[in-house]
């Protein structure tokens, strides 16, 4: 009986030891799994970040090429040439904006007139020189 009890105790000890080992193995595996998971996550995030950066770069490229094209077409020299070609002049009086009075051939409709006038105002910062334009803006 005593022998049987001793045998059972020894087996129990052995069993506990095995369980501990298995648990520690599982724990180690879990730790290793978490570590690997994190490493993979880093790469996944890196790829995502890289994609985002590439998208950003593409957008910046687009912005720059638009800026380049815009500047080529609407440089100060070009605006001034246009102003001179259309006979704009500084006037002494306020609230006057004359546009191609003598040139009857050129027909500019109202909406176009606004665009031209606002370009002119932007160029010379003449906001508020024309009462009519000021009302239209409001």
């Amino acid at each position: 009986m005593l022998l049987l009890a001793q045998q059972s105790l020894g087996w129990q000890k052995k069993y506990r030891g095995m369980v501990r080992k298995i648990i520690s193995l599982i724990f180690l595996f879990f730790l290793f799994f978490v570590y690997l998971h994190q490493r993979i996550n880093i790469y996944v995030e890196a790829y995502k970040l890289n994609d985002a950066k590439n998208t950003l770069n593409k957008l910046v490229d687009k912005r720059d090429s638009l800026l380049y094209n815009f500047s080529q077409r609407v440089s100060l020299a070009k605006i001034n040439e246009w102003v001179e070609a259309n006979g704009f002049k500084f006037v002494k009086e306020d609230k006057i904006l004359a546009l191609n009075i003598n040139n009857q051939k050129t027909q500019i409709n109202k909406s176009k007139e606004n665009v031209l006038a606002s370009s002119f105002k932007r160029l010379f910062r003449l906001a508020g020189t024309s009462k009519a334009l000021a009302q239209q803006q409001h």
Binding site: I42, Y43, N50, F90
Partner: protein
Amino acid sequence: MKDKGSNLRIYLVYFVFSLLFFSLSLRITYLQTVKRKDFLALAKSQHSKVITVKGERGRIFDRNNRVLATNIVVYSVYMDPKFVRNKKDTAEKLAKELGLRAKDILDKLSASKRFVWIKRKISPKEKERLAQLNLKGVYFLREYKRFYPQGALASHILGGVDIDNRGIEGVELFYDKFLRGKEGLVSVLKDSASRSLYTYPQVLYANRGLDLNLTIDIQLQYWVESCLKETIDKYSAHAGSVIVINPFTGEVLALANFPTYDPNHIGEASAREIRNRAIGDIFEPGSVFKIVTLVGSLDRKIFSLGDTIYCENGRFKIPGSILHDWKPYGELTYKEVFKKSSNIGVAKIASRLGATVLYSYIRRMGFGQKTGIDLPGEAKGILKDPRAWSNTSSYIIPIGQEIGVTVLQLAQAMCVVVNGGYLVKPHVCKEFRGSYGLRKEFRLNKRRVVPSGVSSMAKRILIEVVNDGTGKLAKIEGIVVGGKTGTAQKYDVEKGRYSPYAYRASFAGFIENDGKSFVICVSIDEPYRSHFGGVVAAPLFRKIAEKIVEYEEANKRIAAVR
């Protein structure tokens, strides 16, 4: 016997394997301990690397924050010849897309280097087309390219940069260390295809260079440049320069030269076009230089305004030469001498001053030394020490011969007359702006050289020169205009005498309107049809002055609205 033999074989196998394991263990221990650092570094280098990130160059604006220089992203193509399979085919495809010679690319590919540039700074469209070809061993590098949206406008002030974005001319060169961005470092992971993946935070942040605000008004600059070009075309002149400056602060509002160039393509511009003539070209000023004698004689009080000087009927013998007036004069009052620009009268006034005193006033007015403008390539002019002056020198230097000046020096001297007797340092930098609201403004640098009473008297005489003298064509109704014309014969170095055909027409003047003053200095080199300063340069001065007056009035109205 048989057992013994088999036992021996077993022991032998056991021994061999033990030895093998032992040596392997030794090797592993060696690699893991002694060589640990090397292999760690190797592994790290294969998985990650530190790359440099270029800091963007600071932008340049005019005084009203209009962009004059900015950066755009472009691509540069490079190759690793090791990964190129079909070199000939690759070279041909690249040559076709980039407009290069296939042979040049092949030569580059034959080099033993692992990195060769194919073409720097191509457009995004070109890059897209090239990327679609999917060529092995061909890579792209994102770079910044300096871009000047206003083209050739203000090119001599802005200067330009080289392919590596380093300043080579103008403010780009002068303020290069402020404009240049600081390089940063970033640690990146590499995947199996050696592609860089941005993961780790930056080791060292790349800093953008400081933004620079110039004193230039680009609208004014446009008018100055177009008026100058008009005059150059009208008189088929060789070259020309104009400077518009605020006489009280020394702020250069416009500086134009002809011929000019586009800083976007500075590599294609010739040295003749790039030269900033307004600050670097030395010339004999002629009658414009008489303002020095005017200021000096007024300060020394050797003449009163009503005193008369006999002008020898246009022919005056001086040691070693004969002085002529462009028109024979008899008795002229002190004022009339300057109004009519009599060489003989001025020479007589200067001789009363004496060589040493005259020299001191020449220096005081800023001649013979650099003005200190913040632009590279400034010349200090030519001014001999009075001990080296000949007997003729003290008669001809006052009328602007035997002396070399720049247009900027003339403008600076005119500022002395206008601002109450201060020699101001001309400058083009208004302020620097950096991150976190950092601002650094230019400090006003001026020193008194003549009393304010003297400068205001000189100013009145110069106003009369325009109202009723040689500078009549510079007159604008309702505006205070003063100035001095100058027509100088050019010295022919080859023939060793003054050329009868080559002249330089100049006008240095000022306008005063509504409490604001502007000094405008104009110089036209070798004009044809006419060569007189009063005919060629004075009308150009008037055109620019009219534009300034109109512009200032418009600005005033805008300010009132705001």
